[in-house]
Symmetry: none
Subunit: 392 residues, 2 copies
DNA sequence: GGTAGGGTTGAATCGGGGA
DNA sequence: ATCCCCGATTCAACCCTAC
């Protein structure tokens, strides 16, 4: 056992006979092996998992390398350099190599999952499709894909794509016939203002106090996940006292949240720097009273309504002319959701400012449409749309 | 040509020689073949696409089937039913059949895509991971995954999962080196309250007036997509006059929105009931005013104005001192349109970079001149000059 | 084909100075 | 003391054209 490991709740499980459902040859189950919990196993997760008894963990959270295919350096418009994930652990020679890696760790994980255990994997478009395909091929059963919407994503610096503002999680059970998995439907519903918890979750990225820094103020791990995300996952799909496995432990968010919520964890991590930081972090965690978490309300933000949505929704028609309240200024709605005023084209705000010769303008309150001879402020269309979209 | 097909804007394209970039043997290009637009091609999309000229469409939207059990293409060769979801072999056979089907239509689509065309595919967790993997394996290049968040999703009735409240779209270019694809960054940003459009979009599902019903009030198509979704896609990634292909045309949302937005469409559909409903639907569509669709000047392709022209035009005087926005750096304008900073002489960009100690700098936005006590960005002089030149 | 010009960033945290 | 504003910093990465 590595030095300095905190054992918040020692537990032991006995391995049951492993039944291979895939027809593949699996490592022989280690009957009677003890299950080390609340420890970080140093080394490659596949090797580490082989030493654990089969069918012994209740929940898995995996944040595998994303296999980002980066080429040159990315600069911000001010020519500062974006701190890239250029670590060796994220480099793979090919999609085939990444797929082989993915299948290997998924099989190693499946062996230690209890029959009714479930697995969460997080990824981006670089890797998540390959993970999802591997899961299906290996006879895992996908229960949901869940989208983590970031309140504060990194912008797109080149103006060539949409801002990459989300990551995808896949939630899967061990096999299609494993129907007895844990899902706290009522708790999720209660936490979501008494409507069913949806498959799109809104959280900020991990910054500020929560973000682990080294003595020189640099981030310890490039991709530290927010604790709120892990808390949602554990509250939804595990029980107090359960064993939660994280085969790519990194900075230890899974361990920290597990301790906080009264779960046991097992982490695998190859990098000693990460593992040391994670141990210190987890040691400082104060477990919370589970009662206090029950009604943790979903953070909700007033949805930003693009003017384009009002046009796409048919409330205003491209080609229609907008005026100000007294009909002194005019502009035409373009199909793309911008306005044109003479040769100028821009947002409702920019064109409103231009019309008045002001530096800024709230286009929502400035522009009006003709509805049966009455000038109707376009903000009323936004209000209608908000009301119809409040369900989300 | 199928009866009843509306031809809103007959167009003809000539096939260019197809260069296979994948090393696969492709069907021989059909030189001189005419491109039928604003029509629905009846039959299997793979067969229909083979009759089209190579490299002839600008945008593809595909909503492929993902019901593994019910689609003819996914039956076993002996037409026996694939059942027993817990049978691993059947699972695998079923996925393998779906993958073969996916690769086949993707290759057929790729052949007719222009070099800089892009492709959108929509799906759910049942199929989207397989589609994404196939796209990467076939050397498409994923630009974004986009999440359509539904304001009014179908609730989860069993209470065993999260409400499936989104679908996933993948946006991909034809190959990693196809960098010249269409993306209306400025339009998307202006239409989204002057911040970059994100990868998560919020739309209601298709209901009410928009939803096609048969004479008995039943919905014509089970998965009719909202027009707003297609409008966002076409406005972001195509131009007026472009050809938009939909290989799984269904109820014809792609065609209806294409006609509305001044694009041409090509649809493939096997089911005559769907095709008939789509034709009638599209015939009733009123295109928007072409004025509202006019191409806006893209910043990247505006004519280049030499800084010297601004000096020659008298808007800045040789000898005048420029500063940055906060007055921390200074440089003097030379009569030859270069700046001098101490002993250094160079372009506005080079001297701006030098002043800040950066590798590069946009001198147009960095340097300011004093006009009546106000610091005025020199880019505004360029804008004036551009305006006066375009007027001529 | 190499080089240079000219495009391209939103939300949040944190620290310091002034009201 | 407290608040507010401003500037610096940071976050799973993302270019094209003209000469």
């Amino acid at each position: 056992m590595p030095m300095g490991t905190s054992r918040t709740g020692a537990a032991v499980a006995t391995a049951r006979k492993q039944v291979s459902r895939t027809g593949r040859v699996a490592a022989a189950p280690r009957m009677g092996t003890k299950l080390p919990v609340n420890e970080i196993l140093i080394g490659d997760c596949i090797a580490a998992l082989e030493k654990l008894p089969a069918e012994s963990v209740d929940l898995v959270f995996a944040d595998p390398p994303y296999n980002l295919q980066l080429e040159g350096a990315l600069m911000r418009p001010d020519h500062s350099r974006v701190d890239a994930v250029d670590d060796a652990w994220d480099q793979f020679a090919s999609f085939a190599a990444y797929d082989a890696f993915t299948r290997a760790w998924l099989l190693a994980v499946r062996r230690v999952m209890k029959k009714n255990a479930t697995l969460w994997v997080i990824g981006s478009y670089h890797n998540i499709f390959r993970v999802g395909t591997a899961l299906q091929d290996l006879n895992f059963w996908i229960l949901n894909d869940v989208v983590w919407r970031k309140t504060n994503p990194m912008p797109n610096f080149r103006g060539k794509r949409f801002t990459n503002a989300h990551e995808t999680l896949i939630w899967a059970s061990r096999s299609p016939d494993a129907k007895g998995y844990t899902f706290h439907y009522d708790a999720m519903k209660a936490a979501n203002e008494d409507v069913q918890m949806r498959s799109d979750w809104l959280f900020p990225i991990c910054t500020g106090e929560e973000r682990l820094k080294d003595t020189e103020g640099r981030k310890v791990h490039p991709t530290q996940k927010p604790e709120a995300l892990l808390a949602r996952i554990m509250l939804a799909s595990s029980n107090a006292g359960d064993v939660v496995l994280d085969p790519f432990f990194g900075s230890g968010t899974t361990g920290a949240v597990a301790k906080m919520l009264g779960r046991n964890f097992i982490g695998c991590e190859r990098d000693l720097t990460y593992a040391d930081a994670a141990r210190a972090r987890i040691a400082a965690v104060e477990p919370v009273d589970p009662e206090a978490l029950k009604a943790a309300p979903e953070k909700r933000s007033e949805p930003r309504i693009p003017f384009l949505s009002v046009v796409e929704g048919g409330m205003l028609r491209p080609g229609e002319v907008l005026t100000d309240a007294r009909g002194r200024h005019q502009a035409m709605i373009r199909a793309d959701g911008r306005l044109s005023l003479g040769p100028a084209i821009g947002s409702i705000h920019k064109i409103g400012a231009l019309a008045q010769g002001l530096p800024a303008c709230n286009g929502w309150t400035f522009w009006h449409a003709d509805r049966g001879g009455e000038r109707v402020c376009i903000d009323s269309f936004r209000a209608q749309l908000r009301a119809s979209m409040s369900a989300a």
